[in-house]
């Protein structure tokens, strides 16, 4: 198990996460329903980890939340308001998404990666957006690498830049799509620590992960999905120590 325990946080930036609710969310690719009537509630400032085997619809779920893929039916509510009745771009500004493969802009330096949306979405001045970018990079421990391009950074560093990039937009909710799955093993913990720090600082987080140690230690709620449905959800200790469904029992016996 990679993740052991979160570092207590006493200083730094604190966040005011909003609540996130999924109500009977159904999503489809063409005629194939990959998510069926998923309901879950992430209270403000808490962390929910979504676990489950591949093909369970975890990533699709995240894409539905910020409408990178349009839901077929059901609703997503951010701070109590449906995101489906708002402009996708304005919803996405309030929801940070971190990808498995970082998706940094290769022709931009780390600080330009973070500053780009500040300048072009938030409309800040160039100087201001670069100042904020450097601040956010410093928070993820990359102050000295602000002028590096992604290819000159390790996977772990790239993912931290991606997290800084999402945080710079001051999101109310952060989504993580298997953020550590593409990393070398020794770099996983650094990124998980960073995520745990966000959780402790009041960010609302919905985390799709294969890191069971992280889910157990950091999550307030764990959701187990398979074949597009939520099969079990609850406190980490309940799910991991007393799994009810045979599917979850089997899943845990394979990954732990």
């Amino acid at each position: 198990m990679t993740y052991t325990s979160p570092v207590p946080v006493t200083d730094g930036h604190f966040y005011e996460g909003s609540s996130l609710e999924l109500i009977d969310l159904t999503m489809a690719y063409g005629d194939v329903e990959v998510l069926r009537e998923v309901s879950l509630t992430v209270p403000p400032g808490t962390t929910t980890c979504v676990i489950g085997p591949s093909g369970s619809g975890k990533s699709t779920l995240l894409r539905g939340v910020n409408r990178l893929h349009e839901p077929k039916s059901g609703d997503v509510r951010l701070a109590g308001e449906s995101v489906l009745t708002q402009k996708p771009d304005s919803v996405r500004r309030r929801i940070g998404l971190v990808f498995q493969h970082f998706n940094l802009f290769p022709d931009h330096t780390a600080e330009q990666n973070v500053a780009l949306a500040l300048r072009n979405v938030k409309g800040l001045s160039k100087a201001e957006s670069l100042r904020i970018a450097r601040e956010r990079l410093a928070e993820v421990g990359l102050a000295e690498r602000a002028d590096h391009r992604p290819r000159d950074l390790s996977g772990g560093q790239q993912q931290r830049v991606a997290i800084a990039r999402a945080l710079a937009m001051e999101p109310e909710v952060m989504l993580f799509d298997e953020a550590t799955s593409a990393l070398d093993p020794e770099l996983v913990k650094g990124v998980l620590n960073l995520m745990a720090g966000l959780a402790q600082r009041g960010m609302t987080m919905l985390v799709v992960t294969h890191e069971m140690g992280f889910a157990r230690k950091v999550a307030d709620q764990v959701v187990f999905m398979d074949e597009g449905r939520v099969l079990e959800s609850g406190k980490p200790a309940d799910l991991f120590d007393r799994p009810q469904s045979s599917r979850l029992q089997r899943f845990l016996s394979e990954v732990l």
Binding site: V7, R92, F99, V121, L142, M169, G213
Partner: protein
């Protein structure tokens, strides 16, 4: 060695070549470059529009782009040049005067834009989908995401192909002579051809050919050089660095308990 003498006289008559040289340099080369550069610039702009339309989510933009590309890529260049050069001569006369030059450039631009559109489209589509998604996830509009992130990456990848297209335009610019150029408007081929007819000797055309090669060959090799550099990367070799060092670079320094858990 009669045949060798014959060949030299026919193709490499130094005097005939030297006589036509000033005209090739002062008139032909200048006109060839003017036609080619204008056609390239207009072709780049039109090509980018066609490419953006071609990858648009809306079929009402995609289908016209497809038809446009199919037509101008599918027709022989000489046919397009004649149809446009002669078909629109009257309109052109009102705007540009009697010279067929602008229509020749336009026809070449249309042909070039069909090819360049395909080059741009391939380049833009080769950019990882995650780039667009990352932009959208940050709240950027589709247009801004394309303009600021996706298109620049795509274009950089196809620069060598675009230079190749410029070379093709330089060669095709010779076809404009079909529209009947004024003496001062003649490009390399026409200058060489006229001199060849006058002297009854092919050497001036060979000389014109040399001019084309002087433009195209160095460009081809320059492209190959840059293509190679793009492929192998400019990355400097750095001494190996342990991933473990990175664990310590984060702030605040975490105190971690290692070992098995759960």
């Amino acid at each position: 060695m009669d045949w060798l003498d014959n060949i030299i006289k026919t193709f490499f008559d130094f005097e005939a070549m030297w006589q036509v040289f000033p005209q090739l340099l002062g008139v032909g080369l200048v006109n060839t470059l003017i036609i080619s550069i204008w056609a390239t610039v207009i072709g780049l702009v039109l090509g980018m529009i066609v490419a953006i339309m071609g990858i648009s989510p809306s079929r009402w933009l995609r289908i016209p782009a497809r038809i446009y590309t199919d037509i101008f890529r599918g027709l022989p260049a000489i046919l397009t040049i004649l149809l446009i050069g002669q078909g629109f001569a009257r309109f052109s006369q009102d705007i540009f005067g009697p010279s067929p030059y602008p229509l020749g450039i336009l026809a070449l631009s249309l042909i070039a834009s069909a090819y360049m559109g395909e080059i741009f489209r391939a380049g833009i589509q080769s950019v990882d989908r995650g780039q667009l998604e990352a932009c959208r996830a940050l709240g950027m509009s589709y247009g801004k995401a394309m303009r600021l992130v996706v298109v620049p990456q795509g274009v950089r990848r196809v620069l060598p192909a675009l230079v190749n297209q410029f070379i093709a335009i330089v060669k095709d610019s010779s076809l404009v002579y079909f529209l009947g150029l004024l003496v001062s408007e003649r490009e390399l081929f026409r200058v060489g051809q006229d001199a060849a007819v006058l002297t009854g000797n092919l050497s001036p055309l060979v000389m014109a050919g040399l001019f084309y090669l002087v433009i195209t060959v160095p460009l081809t090799h320059l492209v190959n050089y840059f293509d190679n550099r793009f492929r192998t990367g400019r990355r400097k070799a750095v001494p190996p660095k342990s991933g473990l060092d990175e664990v310590e670079e984060q702030n605040p320094t975490p105190t971690l308990t290692y070992g098995e858990n759960s």
